[in-house]
């Protein structure tokens, strides 16, 4: 049963991953990528990591839906009604990636991987939580700071309106001059 599931999910992950660069419709491309992620989430669940599998589903669905919106905003041919290719150096990229795969595969098959040490804890989620709040606290804090920095940096990059546009040159305007109103009466 697990073997069958593994093969189905693995093949799905690769096929959908491949479709990402084969389909014409940008919307379909986005959801092909999502399908590839969902297959990988299934594999993670299969390995007994219930929490991480569910989190991958959660994150990737949200991320891909948001991505679809940006795709359609910026891409030239979102529905793929006119087949068109937007590649550069296709042959070279193919050679490099096939080469990478061959090297990686050779390494994977030739290296003598260490045997299994230890057994999975009864609840890997608890173990993860204790690690993140204990030994790996530094990792967690770094991630938090990085995420916060990302929020600030992306907003600054993406918007073209600063506080002077919103509140006037002396920042004294009583109400911000926004194109769309908000819900808390500022």
């Amino acid at each position: 049963m697990e073997i069958v599931l593994f093969w189905v999910l693995a093949v799905a992950a690769v096929v959908f991953g491949f479709l990402v660069f084969r389909l014409n419709s940008m919307a379909q491309v986005t959801f092909a990528l999502l399908a590839s992620f969902l297959a990988v989430a299934g594999l993670v669940l299969l390995l007994g990591l219930g929490y991480l599998g569910a989190v991958i589903v959660l994150m990737m669905v949200i991320e891909m839906v948001v991505m679809a919106i940006f795709m359609i905003m910026y891409m030239m041919n979102p529905a793929g009604l006119m087949p068109m290719a937007m590649y550069h150096n296709k042959a070279g990229s193919m050679a490099i990636s096939v080469g990478t795969f061959v090297v990686l595969a050779a390494g994977i098959l030739l290296v003598d991987w260490p045997g299994r040490r230890g057994t999975p804890p009864p609840d890997p989620t608890v173990a993860l939580g204790e690690a993140l709040m204990g030994g790996q606290m530094l990792t967690m804090m770094t991630l938090g700071v990085v995420l916060f920095a990302t929020i600030v940096a992306t907003v600054v990059l993406a918007t073209d309106r600063g506080r002077y546009d919103r509140l006037g040159d002396d920042l004294r305007a009583r109400r911000a001059d926004d194109p769309a109103g908000g819900g808390v009466g500022r």
């Binding site: 697990e2 073997i3 593994f6 693995a10 992950a13 690769v14 991953g17 491949f18 990402v20 660069f21 940008m26 491309v29 986005t30 992620f37 990988v40 594999l43 299969l46 390995l47 007994g48 990591l49 991480l52 989190v55 991958i56 994150m59 991505m67 940006f70 910026y74 937007m86 590649y87 550069h88 150096n89 990229s93 193919m94 490099i96 990636s97 795969f101 990686l104 595969a105 991987w113 299994r116 040490r117 230890g118 057994t119 804890p121 890997p124 173990a127 993860l128 690690a131 993140l132 030994g135 790996q136 990792t139 991630l143 990085v146 995420l147 990302t150 940096a153 992306t154 907003v155 990059l157």
Partner: protein, 101 residues
């Protein structure tokens, strides 16, 4: 299910992603390639956790880190595309490489 199979899958996803990241002109598609590469890393990390050191938590933490990296990559990528597009109306790497739009 063996470690080698999982790692081969991870290598396959990584290679497909690499191909996309190298060959696509559109910045958005390029980011999809990067995401696929990270997808491969998730598979590898989870497999190492299960088949090599299930007693530890390093594999799991690595998955968490990769997921965060994906989110950050997407957010920053789209912010840059938005800024580029606002300034020069381009969403292609080749055009962004020109010094003046």
């Amino acid at each position: 299910m063996t470690l080698e199979l999982f790692l081969l899958l991870a290598a396959g996803l990584f290679a497909i992603g690499l191909y996309g990241a190298l060959s696509q002109q559109s910045i958005v598609m390029l980011m999809m390639g990067l995401e696929l590469m990270l997808n491969g890393v998730i598979v590898a990390a989870a497999a190492f956790w299960y088949f090599v050191a299930p007693g530890g938590t390093d594999g799991q933490v690595l998955v968490v880190v990769v997921i965060t990296a994906m989110a950050v990559e997407m957010a920053v990528g789209f912010a840059v595309v938005t800024a580029l597009y606002r300034a020069r109306q381009v969403d292609m790497t080749d055009d962004a490489a020109d010094l003046k739009g």
